[in-house]
Point group: C2
Chain length 306, copies 2
């Protein structure tokens, strides 16, 4: 019986690429593993897998009775609804410690770095196993994506070192050029329904008993989103009503200007001012230097909702 | 400002020795750390620290506003009452994943092995830092204690390898002899009040909303406890009433016969039969092969209470 390896809902590139890498590593260590994803892959992730000739993992949402390894999250809200009926053998992650608990001992590699693939690079090294060339390529892309080409405040020296090593194995000399190529794919929104854009990198959080959703779109220039911004604002309001959330925020991140516009749908929009000291106008606000949901946004909202 | 490193309430030898080792390792990696303990040390632990000339950590129970590393647990019930007001930088552990959550990314090394000190042995190696001779000695003792001289079902090949390496560094040739010396210290109960024996290695668990306490005494021969067994049974009944627990169980483990007698104080003693298939007589039952609270006992009670 195969062990499944997967990450969070609305899979991003790190969740998918790290699941593939951990399945490869564990299989080589004698535990037969299959990578899966909890949903359809984003265009950026498809681009990455195509570029390095790696097969996309199957979409699978039910895991009752299965053995699993998790990557890139330990939050129940981001895990399958039946995760409590699965046996979690381990977690590789780079986030805060979530509310998943287990009834048996497990293996956790969780480091405060910019990307799960960085932890996996260390795990390959620890076990003395070489990263295959194509997997090195997708792991490198995961790091470039999660650290916004090393610009995010979540980026650590360990991420840069891992990216350099992976670039060597994958035969990629210009890491920044690969990053821009990826982010241009990510920036293409034309013809994509607003709901799909909102959910592309969306996570629900339980903040002190309050359900808060935070989505993020990263683009190489915010003006790309001018034509769809009205639709996005309307859609997060609609999604908030459908899900019964207290709030849904959508971060429109300009990776070159290094800041985010936040679109707000909330029962109490004052939490934004409480969190960032900026008064929203017309349900939105510009947040300079805010690049990372995890580091710049979630902790501030958690305090505001405490 | 120093970062504090400590483990669970009612500190056992692994919690104390691993806190000392992690504080040493982190300090050498540039994060000044001080080991502490949440309570007085057990006789076995004092013997270990004396034997290798290592200073006992100070007892400290309040951590609000402090930065901390945790060892040997991630269960809130086993952590200080004010842990939510501390910043948890990381966890080194070998148990199931508990209900601690954090609001920031952290560093976790949690492996399904017999002892936290085994994980620490790998961490020293990962960072290319030599384990000091005296700390190798106490880490070795932690492994011998937690794995009951390699006899516990929790013992893995990694524990044996780590113990062998640490033995070499510490200059200990006969590991089993050191283990027996330790367990003889642990077995001495004469003149010790029943409450102190019950609490010596006692943990509370939240099992599906039910508060369940499980203590354990490990002796080289169960007959050592004949004279105090009545007092122990009376004391867990009293402690149950004081704490308002649903159940308190005390495991009297015979490390040579490799099994445990369980003393029962419970609102519903049938959970013992449900968990182990053995009908208790006079509030107690012999459980053959049951050596490890973590592996042989907690998962079975968690199912029985589910």
């Amino acid at each position: 019986m195969s062990v499944y390896v997967f990450g969070h809902k609305n899979p991003d590139s790190d969740t998918v690429c790290s699941a593939i890498a951990l399945a490869d590593l564990k299989s080589k260590l004698g535990v037969a593993c299959t990578p899966t994803a909890q949903g359809e892959l984003a265009p950026e992730t498809k681009f990455i897998l195509d570029k390095f000739g790696v097969a996309a993992p199957a979409v699978k949402t039910e895991y009752a009775g299965e053995k699993v390894f998790l990557v890139d999250t330990s939050d129940l809200a981001q895990l399958p609804d039946d995760i409590k009926q699965a046996e979690v053998l381990g977690i590789v992650d780079h986030h805060k410690l979530g509310d998943l608990t287990t009834s048996s001992p497990l293996e956790c590699w969780i480091w405060p770095v910019g990307c799960t693939a960085t932890v996996l690079t260390a795990m390959y090294k620890f076990h003395g196993i070489e990263v295959p060339k194509n997997i090195a390529g997708i792991m490198l892309c995961a790091i470039l994506s999660d650290t916004v080409i090393f610009k995010s405040p979540t980026c650590t020296p360990a991420d840069k070192e891992a990216a350099a090593e992976l670039g060597k194995i994958a035969g990629i000399a210009d890491l920044a050029a690969l990053g821009m190529e990826m982010f241009k794919v990510k920036s293409a929104v034309e013809g994509t329904p607003a709901r799909e854009l909102v959910l592309r990198d969306y996570k629900d959080f339980n903040m002190n008993g309050t359900k808060v959703g935070i989505g993020q779109l990263e683009v190489v220039d915010l003006s790309i989103l001018d034509a769809v911004k009205g639709d996005l604002a309307a859609d997060i309001a609609a999604l908030k009503a459908e899900k019964g959330n207290h709030s849904i925020f959508l971060l429109l991140t300009d990776i070159m200007k290094e800041g985010s516009e936040i679109l707000i749908a909330s029962d109490d929009a004052s939490v934004v001012e409480k969190a960032f000291g900026v008064k929203p106008v017309d349900g939105k606000a510009w947040l300079p230097k805010v690049m990372s949901r995890k580091k710049d946004v979630v902790p501030k909202f958690e305090k505001a909702f405490a």
